[in-house]
Amino acid sequence: MSAIELRNVSRWYGNVVAVNDVSMVIGPGVTGLLGPNGAGKTTLLNLMAGFLAPSRGELTVGGRPSWRNPDVFTTLGLVPDRDSVYAFLTGIDFVRSTAKLHRLVDPDAAARRAIGIVDMADAQDRRISTYSKGMRQRIKVAAALVHDPQILLLDEPFNGMDPRQRLEMMDLLEKMGEEGRSILFSSHILEEVERISGTIQVVVGGRLAASGDFRAIRRLMTSRPHVFLVRSSADRALGAALIGRPAVTGVELTPRGLQVRTADFGTFARELAGLCRDSGIRLREVLPSDESLESVFAYLVAQ
């Protein structure tokens, strides 16, 4: 059975439409909910967790509607994006309390198991107020996992984590997905989720813009046209050399430098330096000029 199902779900506040006619099915494995800030990711997660009523449409978690139904949390775990926890508690106390709220038979064992999963045993006896951002994130995950839920929702779990913590969190999500759980996390940075396999749902402007396999989306991302601004000691000569390369699809001389369009970002990046060295041109600056998230997502939407 699919873990989470949305059928034509919309949510609006007055005249502002936050989620617009979204249908999706989230099943076992890892699913990424991607989109720029303000796209409606948090609204979608709140709808799924029952912290918001759909204005229209149907939404079920494990076959049951989640709105006004706290019982969904017997099979659902939620890691909210806000950092507010009971900071005066120790890590183990917080997770154990959550276990007791779930009325688990052995809250202590469940808390130790969950803390083991997120690798926080060393810091479990410290107050949460002394934790770093990454540690808080992990203790929140432990609390959300303590009742061994089949479905886990994580809102921006990689926010504020350093690269190593991020990799560890991705591995953890992967592992849980392989165990047959349905893991849904949101993120506004495509690059930060590059290691995760599975499916993604791209949300832009409250609408479901694209969905599919992570690898396919990643391929689209690397093969999409990139525009760079290149400044060198001899722009015109460099432009002439560049246009001869298959990876380059267009060159324009501008007062600020060369505007170079490429269809193959990787090859271009490798060739540019060698080309300059061979022709004795000094490279001063290479700036990606369309790397805003919106342009990336807009490109994905168009595909």
Binding site: R11, Y13, V16, V17, A18, V19, N37, G38, A39, G40, K41, T42, T43, L44, L45, N46, A49, F51, L52, A53, R68, P70, D71, F73, T74, L76, G77, L78, P80, R82, S84, V85, Y86, F88, L89, F94, S97, T98, K100, L101, H102, R103, K140, A143, A144, G206
Partner: protein
């Protein structure tokens, strides 16, 4: 009834409420009541100063404000800072959440408001006097009914303290003195009338019969707790696009 009071929620709430800066305000209440009572005992000329200070002032200012600070923060502070989501993302029933928060607020108000009233009355007239028993009983009613109201306000509005103050100043304070009918809907009158049924002192300025006071206090408590539960069941978090 089993499961209505959640011990985990109760324990965390007591710790959280005592740990906030606001706790400084209500932990000073016992000190203030008892110190002023000692001073008044030494200098006051009026023989009914305990009724006027501990009864009228205590029941219209000290107890309601203590309950206001405590009752709006047991659940309201967590709603404000978002940590309530860790509690709501569990299968604990919303009725149980509201009730446990309410019980925490009542316990704290009794400790920092009702019992100090009793001790201050003992300073004034000694431990065996009916004044202390009457004020304690009335203060227990106040602790229960005010906190039910203020917990409800903290679920219904983010400006619970302001709304609560308006209720105390305008409704109970101003209209309660000018319009007789308002007294039937005034928690201050319920508590002082219950106290008066034991103390029997006109200086307490009580206007309701014992029966009316108790029935109305029960109705207000259950009604506001039911409303709080209803509203917490529809607790919504606005998302990023809002």
């Amino acid at each position: 009834m089993s499961g209505l009071l959640n011990p985990v929620v109760l324990r965390i709430t007591l710790r959280a409420t005592l740990g906030r800066k606001r706790a400084l305000v209500f932990t000073l209440v016992p000190l203030v009541l008892i110190v002023i009572s000692v001073l008044l005992k030494l200098v006051a000329k009026s023989p009914v100063w305990p009724e006027e200070f501990l009864g009228v002032f205590g029941f219209s200012v000290v107890l309601p404000l203590t309950a206001l600070i405590i009752g709006t923060s047991v659940l309201g502070a967590e709603i404000d800072d978002g940590s309530v989501i860790h509690l709501l993302a569990t299968p604990v029933s919303r009725l149980s959440v509201v009730f446990s928060k309410f019980v925490a607020a009542v316990i704290l108000t009794i400790v920092f408001g009702a019992i100090p009233e009793f001790l201050a009355a003992a300073v004034a007239r000694g431990f065996g006097d009916k004044l202390g028993i009457g004020l304690l009983t009335g203060a227990l009613i106040a602790s229960v009914a005010y906190n039910a109201l203020f917990v409800m306000l903290s679920v219904v509005t983010t400006r619970a303290i302001a709304v609560g103050l308006l209720y105390l100043l305008v409704w109970e304070g101003l209209l309660g003195n000018l319009v007789g009918g308002v007294r039937v809907l005034s928690i201050g009158q319920y508590s002082v009338s219950v106290a008066n049924s034991i103390v029997h002192a006109s200086a307490l300025n009580a206007h309701l019969t014992l029966q009316t006071a108790i029935v109305m206090a029960v109705v207000v408590t259950l009604g506001t707790l039911a409303l709080a539960t209803r509203r917490l069941s529809s607790f919504s978090i606005k998302g990023d696009a809002a």
